[in-house]
């Protein structure tokens, strides 16, 4: 992949993340103004569901902000852009990710977590089981990644 192609790719990524952050901020403001937070926090199950999903979204939003900042820095500096391009297309990193199953586990964990959040409104036991599964999968993936990073 050439630097120009990579530049276009990260610009698209930045736009997508910015849209996500904008929607997240807009929904948060609307919920705050309408007083939905106060209403659902009185009911334990709904309060737990909303707190968990909001915490999860807050974490995702924070990660997005950091990544957008990183992309902005890379777009301003050619050396950083090349370093980021090399890092993302590094063959050793790709091999480690393949070996620890990150390409499958990460999207799967995200889907399981989303299913867990959705089912929080229906059955708390099922949702906690789903969330625990996702966390365990991610932990296993991290341990394997550390192991293969040391090995190769």
């Amino acid at each position: 992949m050439t630097i120009e192609e990579f530049k276009i790719k990260i610009k698209i990524r930045k736009a997508a993340l910015s849209i996500f952050l904008f929607i997240y901020a807009a929904i948060n403001i609307i919920l705050r103004i309408s007083g939905v937070y106060e209403k659902i926090s009185n009911d334990f199950e709904k309060g737990f569901a909303s707190s968990f999903s909001l915490g999860m979204l807050l974490g995702l939003a924070a990660a997005c902000v950091i990544y957008v900042f990183k992309i902005n820095c890379a777009l301003k500096d050619e050396k950083k852009l090349k370093e980021l391009c090399n890092y993302e297309n590094d063959e050793r990193r790709a091999m480690i990710k393949t070996k620890c199953g990150a390409y499958v586990i990460l999207p799967m964990s995200l889907i399981i977590t989303a299913a867990g959040i959705t089912s929080l409104c229906l059955n708390q036991t099922v949702s906690i089981t789903l969330i625990c599964t996702a966390v365990f999968q991610l932990t296993t993936c991290c341990i394997l990644k550390l192991y293969y990073s040391k090995k190769y």
């Binding site: 090349k82 090399n86 890092y87 590094d90 063959e91 050793r92 990193r93 090995k151």
Partner: protein, 73 residues
């Protein structure tokens, strides 16, 4: 697999980071190749050899690889 990368880097006064930037990889990958933990792919081996103006055989040591007797020679 043994390589001559550390020797060539010293000769041309190159840091691992600078070499990684030139050949399109990371410093960690260069370190792993140098210590023999990781075997570079053919495109990366070619890029490294081409960067130093040498052939792949001159940069990487293939003496520990056994070849089949049934070749086309």
């Amino acid at each position: 697999m043994k390589t001559r990368i550390p020797e060539l880097r010293k000769k041309y006064r190159l840091s691992q980071e600078a070499l990684a930037l030139e050949v399109g990889t990371t410093r960690q990958t260069i370190t792993s190749i140098e210590v023999g933990k990781y075997t570079a792919s053919l495109p990366l081996a070619y890029k490294l050899a081409h960067y130093f103006g040498l052939s792949i055989e001159e940069v990487f040591d293939f003496s520990d690889i056994s070849f089949s007797e049934n070749n086309f020679k």
